[in-house]
Symmetry: C2
Subunit: 334 residues, 2 copies
């Protein structure tokens, strides 16, 4: 008898990723398409990206052979509650020839599962938004933050970008020299290199007004696009950026502290674009977490689609060692 085949999906704001693998941990196919969140992209656009990603990943096999599937999705609860979105996803499922069902989980659980097979632990994600979650028995037990940019997402990409503009405004108002991050922010928002510090009051106020208006011209969430400037400046040792990153790490550790008790030795998985890839924020957060939870393993999230595939596979009868399967699935280069 050949191994069962599973599908894992990681559906996010910027990409939809699919992975097809055997229950023994051999990756058979991968697919990638654009952002596929039905809440933010619209149901039809999301369904199209889902079909593209699945079609590519399933190309090497007969889709009818797939026996289990899981998808990690930001706002999973909204998909499950929305019959139109659910019907569109079901239709794609049929179109690509899949005959098994699929579990929908939050992207937080898929990210967690991409980092560790341990049933209990903590996930903290900082991308455009930010959230921390307690995982118990591989379900999301409770969360802190994830409240969106207006009320929360403390330490997120949005938060970093907003803070970068705030500090820039303060630098201008106090006639400090505009170097480093403030210089980068002004060039990005005004398309104009800084003219140097200490201008008279009139021009300073006009610069402040121009920055405020440049931000107001876009949707608030566009402030997240400034986060890479903060990351870059922090790497270069710019004191303003280093300070912002330290504060973001403190806020993220604070969110973790809301849902994780002192002395907890279960793993903490760091996910999201700002906490993977060795960013200054992941370094700062690692430091903050080690201080409060010195005995906890800290793990960087891997491929969310592989995490979802593992979630789908781990309860198959033939999978006798889910931990070994995790190592095989997540060790495979994405």
């Amino acid at each position: 008898m050949s191994d069962s085949i599973v599908v894992g999906l990681d559906i996010g704001g910027t990409s939809t990723r699919a992975l097809v693998a055997t229950a023994a941990g051999t990756v058979l196919g991968r697919g990638r398409a654009g952002g596929g969140n039905p809440t933010t992209h619209g149901v039809e656009a999301a369904a199209t990206e889902l079909r593209l990603a699945l079609t590519a990943a399933l190309a090497p096999i007969d889709p009818g052979q797939v026996s289990a599937a899981a998808m990690g999705l930001a706002g999973a609860g909204r998909l499950l509650a929305d019959p139109v979105a659910r019907a569109a996803f079901d239709r794609v499922w049929d179109q690509v020839g899949l005959r098994c069902g699929y579990d929908v989980t939050g992207d937080a659980l898929a990210a967690y599962a991409s980092g560790t097979p341990h049933p209990d632990g903590t996930i903290v994600i900082a991308g455009t938004g930010a959230i921390a979650g307690e995982i118990r028995d591989l379900t999301l037990h409770r969360v802190a933050d994830g409240h969106g940019w207006l009320l929360g997402d403390a330490g997120s990409g949005f938060w970093l970008g907003r803070e970068a503009v705030r500090r820039t405004l303060a630098v201008i108002e106090t006639s400090q020299e505009r170097v480093g991050l403030p210089d980068l922010v002004m060039a990005e928002l005004l398309g104009d290199p800084a003219t140097g510090g200490g201008p008279p009051a009139g021009p300073a106020r006009r610069t402040v007004d121009a920055l405020v208006q440049a931000v107001a011209a876009g949707p608030p969430i566009a402030l997240a696009a400034l986060a890479p400037l903060v990351v870059r400046a922090a790497r270069d040792g710019d004191p303003v950026a280093v300070d912002i990153v330290a504060e973001a790490a403190r806020l993220l550790a604070g969110s973790v502290g809301r849902i994780r008790s002192a002395g907890d030795r279960t793993p903490v998985v760091l996910g999201g674009g700002l906490l993977t890839g060795g960013t200054p924020l992941s370094a700062a957060l690692t430091g903050a977490l080690r201080e409060r939870w010195p005995d906890a393993p800290l793990v960087t999230a891997g491929d969310g689609a592989a995490g979802a595939a593992w979630l789908a596979a781990r309860t198959l009868p033939e999978v006798t060692d889910p931990t070994a399967l995790h190592h095989r699935l997540l060790a495979a280069p994405a």
Copy 2:
């Protein structure tokens, strides 16, 4: 020869106030109408409120006798730059029979002038928004903050309201008892008294989601409507509210610190709905300012229309003692 007559106007988001007085300091008439800011209310609606307030204030006199006028207006620069708004205001001026010109100043200067006749000092305003300004020779020399709710307004009514929701979300997520301010916030946003602390994870998350959605259902600035809850709870000694108010005072003092040097002994005028009327925030800010500027007189703003009338009158040739005129105009009950 009878005294010259002046008109002062204070045009804000919630009301338009007019005051007619003699250059000797006798108040002859007052008028009040709805919010008249052309930027936020639209030019025609603003012009209507201006006409109502002026008509009432001018009723006891012949408008043709008025020799000087000043209006304090949030976003004064935008009125001056907008020919349509300017033409609409000029038309009202003609309609009510005024023949003198009028000076347009920011509401910050009018608020400052309502508190003190001293030519140099500082104004700090906390209402829906927040701003601090340095006054030199009775002109607004430079400002800190006033950046709007997305980027600034630190310590404002919006800030207090947002912080109240944030703290409420944190209380729910950490399963603390929902008493005091969190209880008030939940009742206000969900129309539902708190059910008591420590619910299991599911219901807590649903409550968090309901709060986030209740806020998302309105414009962000509507969070300012929660500020009175914070003020009330702080008066009652609620520790969460007291902490929020202390942080707001720290932020407002920080904005003042950006535009006021250590050791400055000129007056600081406290204006805006959150800093007049003996609120806990004005008490906390007074404490924070006394710590940094122990020798500065701290004054509460008075009637902005009277402040504007004084600005219009003080340079008339017959006004030989502007300070005495200030005392008379601002001592009159509004």
